[in-house]
């Protein structure tokens, strides 16, 4: 069944249709929540609560609009609120998978080690950025949302996403250059 039809049915109160929608989007929703909270149990709670709130708010969902960014905006808000009420900063401990044939072409062992170090370095510096910078980068590159989707999810204009992304990457580059100098 098409997502639009599922959303229509859910809008009319169909919980079975909504369950199918949830199943389709629960992975990206959980990852979005995890990128905010940095804590798996909290991300799970936020995801579940956000799905319930989204169902209650389905009457505000514009028919025909893309469901994913609308949902992710609710997920992000819920995750942010939970993290803030817990009174702590997100302790993002992302890990990058090791080199594998499925992901990249065969490389020399030395090149693989350098690439892995570079990824770890990038992740570490990403964790040091402000929440706004970190989220715009994470949503855009890790969740692979389009600029439009990222804008809807973060509740800002598309131009804001562009400029924020540019500034965040510049900061990231600066931080990595400092480490190189050190």
């Amino acid at each position: 069944m098409e997502e639009r039809e599922l959303a229509e049915r859910a809008r009319d109160g169909g919980t079975a249709a909504y369950e199918r929608l949830v199943r389709r989007h629960q992975a990206v929703a959980f990852r979005a929540a995890y990128l905010v909270t940095g804590d798996a149990p909290e991300a799970e709670d936020a995801t579940q609560e956000a799905f319930v709130k989204a169902y209650r708010a389905m009457h505000r969902f514009r028919p025909g609009a893309p469901f994913r960014p609308w949902l992710l905006a609710i997920v992000t808000n819920e995750a942010r609120n939970r993290r803030r009420s817990a009174g702590r900063r997100a302790n993002l401990t992302l890990r990058a998978a090791a080199e594998s044939q499925a992901i990249s072409a065969p490389v020399s062992p030395e090149a693989a080690v350098v690439a892995a170090e570079r990824r770890e370095e990038l992740l570490a510096n990403l964790g040091e950025l402000s929440e706004d910078d970190r989220l715009v980068i994470s949503y855009r590159y890790f969740l692979e949302l389009s600029e439009e989707e990222t804008a809807t999810t973060l509740g800002c204009a598309r131009g804001t996403v562009k400029s924020r992304l540019s500034r965040a990457i510049a900061r990231l580059r600066k931080a990595m250059a400092k480490e190189e100098d050190a």
Binding site: E19, R20, A97, I103, Y141, F142, I169, R173
Partner: protein, 238 residues
Amino acid sequence: MPDDRRVSEREIEQGLRDLGARVEYPPTPEVARSVRLRLNEEQSRQARRNWRWPPFLAPRLTAVAVALVLISVVALSPTVRATLSDFFVSSDQTGSEAGGSAARPEIGASQDRATQEEGAPSQAAGASAAMEDEGAFGCPSPSVRANPARAAAGETFWLSGHDFSSDCGGVGTSPARGIEIYFLQAGETWPLATLDADRNLTFDTRLRVPALAEAGRATVRATTRSGEHVERRFLVLR
């Protein structure tokens, strides 16, 4: 070290894209089922709530209906209306002296009054009781009102009376005659006036607080020839 030897922004972007494909997240929990169960539970709870309170029995509507019934009872029953009216007027006029309009006969009342009470003990047993009995048969209950309800000894006040009829229960209704007004305080009784009700069964007269009255509580009493009496509390000021 020159800038171009460092990592460029384009490389950072490329690195981030590469990283995005490799980031390891915790396993995605299965929330679809639990979300649906929660929503179903909410819906059934809502349905149970609706079943308990169908629209015509909703708490607010029930409260409004009860209030309307009470207002109707008050509006249609002269006895209840008069009692409530007396109560609220008394509260307004006497402040801390607020209280019911009926009181037991005072010791030391005038000789005539004593005779009347002896001759008709059941009638003298309290104004409100007598009035309620009358009200039950549809007779209007007499009432008095002092304005102001507090004054110093020697000062004047207005006393108005309503529903003073002489032959309630008979064929017609005629104004009561020879209504005696007394001022009672601490066992003392001062006759203030004797007057007749007008054709509207009302009277309105100016009276003077007895010069010997002391500061404190007092009672103004209107007694009809049939021995019924109505009272109103009064506060004598210093």
